[in-house]
Symmetry: D2
Subunit: 352 residues, 4 copies
Amino acid sequence: MPSKRKVAILGATGAIGQRYIQLLQGHPWFQIEVLAASERSAGKKYRDACNWTMESELPKEIADMTVADANVEAVQKAGNVDLVFSSLPGDLAGPVEEEFAAAYPVFSKASAHRMETDVPLLIPEVNPDHLALIPVQQKNRGWKGFITTDPNCSTIQMAMTLKPLMQFGLTQVMVTTMQALSGAGYPGVPSLDILDNVVPYIGKEEDKMESESNKILGSFDGKAVHDARFVVSASCNRVHVKDGHLESVFVSLAQNPSVEAVAEAFRSFKGEPQQLKLPSAPENPIVVREEANRPQPRFDRDAGKGMSVSVGRLRKDPLMSLKYMCLGHNTIRGGAGAGVLSAELAVAKGLA
Amino acid sequence: MPSKRKVAILGATGAIGQRYIQLLQGHPWFQIEVLAASERSAGKKYRDACNWTMESELPKEIADMTVADANVEAVQKAGNVDLVFSSLPGDLAGPVEEEFAAAYPVFSKASAHRMETDVPLLIPEVNPDHLALIPVQQKNRGWKGFITTDPNCSTIQMAMTLKPLMQFGLTQVMVTTMQALSGAGYPGVPSLDILDNVVPYIGKEEDKMESESNKILGSFDGKAVHDARFVVSASCNRVHVKDGHLESVFVSLAQNPSVEAVAEAFRSFKGEPQQLKLPSAPENPIVVREEANRPQPRFDRDAGKGMSVSVGRLRKDPLMSLKYMCLGHNTIRGGAGAGVLSAELAVAKGLA
Amino acid sequence: MPSKRKVAILGATGAIGQRYIQLLQGHPWFQIEVLAASERSAGKKYRDACNWTMESELPKEIADMTVADANVEAVQKAGNVDLVFSSLPGDLAGPVEEEFAAAYPVFSKASAHRMETDVPLLIPEVNPDHLALIPVQQKNRGWKGFITTDPNCSTIQMAMTLKPLMQFGLTQVMVTTMQALSGAGYPGVPSLDILDNVVPYIGKEEDKMESESNKILGSFDGKAVHDARFVVSASCNRVHVKDGHLESVFVSLAQNPSVEAVAEAFRSFKGEPQQLKLPSAPENPIVVREEANRPQPRFDRDAGKGMSVSVGRLRKDPLMSLKYMCLGHNTIRGGAGAGVLSAELAVAKGLA
Amino acid sequence: MPSKRKVAILGATGAIGQRYIQLLQGHPWFQIEVLAASERSAGKKYRDACNWTMESELPKEIADMTVADANVEAVQKAGNVDLVFSSLPGDLAGPVEEEFAAAYPVFSKASAHRMETDVPLLIPEVNPDHLALIPVQQKNRGWKGFITTDPNCSTIQMAMTLKPLMQFGLTQVMVTTMQALSGAGYPGVPSLDILDNVVPYIGKEEDKMESESNKILGSFDGKAVHDARFVVSASCNRVHVKDGHLESVFVSLAQNPSVEAVAEAFRSFKGEPQQLKLPSAPENPIVVREEANRPQPRFDRDAGKGMSVSVGRLRKDPLMSLKYMCLGHNTIRGGAGAGVLSAELAVAKGLA
């Protein structure tokens, strides 16, 4: 077992930052050393800087920590850290993460670096081999540390279900999402906008879903990742749900497999996190529900402690090959949990 | 202008029945003469038989009416009616509507007779020529009256948007719905099932959407309706919205028209109800929204007094030709308003 | 009938400002001439400055108006106005309203001047005689115009129900509110705060309820208003409702009247707006519901076009004299409608 | 430690029955032996008889159990049980529970026997001495077993906060509740009734709150319980919250203590369950929140695993002595958890 790493969380006061704190309580490998956020929060006690929105209590020792400014100098002054989780807002994340990557392994939930060719866009069960981009990145950029990124929340859960479909010759993916409010952060969506309503628009979300999946499921040839050759079309909606993105997915598969063959592929899907028994790895990355009316956000988002993706309503499609619903916890598997699992994988592989 | 018809409402205590009552208040052509419902309600004052769930007040003169049993003998005893609106539950509607159709024009919101070859499945703006099935039906069945049916609520609004797309060579339709709670009637969906949740299943709804559209958009050759040749795939969900079904639609069009050409086809779409200036006809059957985040149920369901379908987010699709969102009021355009408009059309054409 | 007044709305982009615009569409006495808001909005088209959250469409001619800065000079430059509605935020309202009052009648929804001794805190049905403070105010302050204020939204509806109770010797009022989200303005309450939740705190609301009622129901002796001598205790909560504050009220009445006597006092309550047939006056300021489970926000908030207060569940109380529920539309009777009715009263009395 | 008791759950398919099943998973003292419900469910597998609405998965071994009819003969045939939990509907509970009490200790959540003079109305922290009614009851009725009852859910949490106030001379209690949907069972409240709404009525709830507290806080003189002498007035509302009743409480205390003295009385309150370290006893029966806006249902209902009552906004009242908000989990502390804790207490005292 690796020794305990000291970690900094950049963007610690935001919705994903809070989830990082929650998930890292009692973590066997990681220990929170520094909480960093924007200038506005820096210097305050965490309890005062943050509007804690988790249902669990804010741990007392975290509440008493002083928030550092999210730059290398301030973080180094605040503590001696081994690796960095970043959930900075997209527009800030770019240069700040690069500054940290010169010295530290950075596990980023921000979108800034996702599509750069030497940066892994990682889902540990799906493309652990993409971590081999890290030496390429370090050479390119002259860094001792590195950046690896987690995909967009809606993409992660979909891509996990697409991975076992690749063997059947995946060519087309059509998806309509019904996404939870926590995906918009805090304060996020005003209650007057969403009460008795659905908002059929989430800025840039469709673009992310349509581009990220091909990189994630792309193949690594030792030097670079080559995009997988299927086409994704997405239509994204915000619904009145706290946590848990639900997605209606239609796929074309060249081999046109049976429903049962696909269900079995989902059920038996395992990845390196399961083989390595990483602390945050769910036993089943994909849970297949047999009921006619599942998965449902309130009932299935916590499957595998929020790290499993639930699939249901798998059925033949009159136009494409198959259709199904998938659901994942957007701030755990699609958020802080993604970063924690990525870091666990990196540690297990000796990279961090 | 036609003289005022006396009408009976079968299923008057249900959610759609209540909406019929609301829409017929002050209607220039129709006057409520008899309210009929199941045995359980028969003999009671309407105010006692019904759990009124409309936001408008239950009209006093309606409240005081005695509910008749939903059979021909009882309705005839209760009043002298010219035509019948039926919103009976699907399983009861079949034989009861046939009994009435022997003598009366029956405008049915039930699914029982929708797919029968000599029964129109009518959307007045879309396929008014299908009313020519009525003499065929009367001959087949030896009826003086007739049955004409309204499609399923989710289908109506989608089919209205498909009609102007037919000119571009429509071949494929993929739709994911986010349907309102009122679509399940009353008491309908328990609050504990839908609070902080989405239910990704509505019994038989997908089948209806996948079969009804082809008949609606089919061509009538003087004797029969021949199904339109496109394929529909549907995935249906219940969301936490009171009224207004929102649908994410993807279409393949052989001619691959521009977004603007399609927007213009939507905007300029008119039908017989508009030409005939029927009392319930909206000025614009389809309203095109230009905002990035519309249509939304709470803001757009009442467009055209609930009789217009709102379309928005019209954009090119990487897989099919185009994608867009459409929204309609499920208990007005998709419910009682559909029946009222159908009856207006039949009256205007001298059929009722 | 008075001639049509040209009005300016200060704070026109906010939630109450939008409601003013909606209520003044087609108003027989008032016409919108100038829309004014903070510097941030000034100079923009209203459609661009405002996030329109009313369910009705933003009227086109309003959308195209240019927003003026909320100061006298800018408003005078933008148009020639006769009177001013102010729904400025509390902290800005104070000095700005005074500046306008030097020249214009100002009808204010802000809290800044409510408790000043020479400023009416007006509910037209309850204390129209308090308008006699205006000459006192004008003399005190050397103004040609004046300020009259509307009470806090929760207070208005409660005070309307307290007025007919004064005759029975009102001594104590205990109230727990369940207030709607629109009361917090826009963006207001984050959806993540209120989904599946109640927030038992609204800043300063309890203080307002506990102090304003005594002034409203106080008596005017020709020079000053003397506070009514009852004690109010309030506990205020935010619930998951769009519009309509619901209040659980317990009252002590010295004469201990019967439930029926109080119900009759509520039902027969009328004020000057009804006698003068003011355009926005509801026929019944108080509607008494007999059902066991009313009033309810969604069903009763629009009573009297949002200007009536609904009372129900009137019953004897084991501790005090009586208890009942009351409900009013917080952005109509409790918001812009209050200002419009106040202005109508002032016009009818020759004050504006 | 006592040996493991085998238990039957009467009403096992209902909302409280399901919560019993959930809470008894892995319980150190109790083991589920028989699940019983109405005739309609009897003979079916539990998975088929029940619409499982808990967020946790239905345990597989429970799902496979066959439901017995809720009568003594059927339950005895199904298994050998030591004690009985009853969450039967109020109208059925009366005679069925008596039948069981002839032979078994019955812990009842039903209202049928609550107000009978020889039946304890038990909150283990508040009136454990009332268990001394059991020998009285056994003698009166000739039973080998007995019935002890749990109060109404709204009453339990309020009475827990009243207990530490008794020392200050409690004379009056005024309460307005905002109660969760799960309190109405399943299917319970239709979503169309509560979306964007509050229902200001819950049948018989106010009567229960106004009568039960006096018995609970009454004193036992060795033979009978004498009601405590304070007066309660209640006004009960249903709000859009899944779990967790929130109550706005106003109290008159003869000694008029300081806020801090009362806060300290709440914080230091402990009872026999804490002294006996019963398995389900929370460390703190009452948690005092210092924040301005707590307790809130979504954030505080799970305090003490749903067994603690949270109190906040404790402040002086202008009319009575003090006001505060209290919140409890209505289906744990106010439901199945109450029964489990009562049974634990009875076991610890050698009564079961």
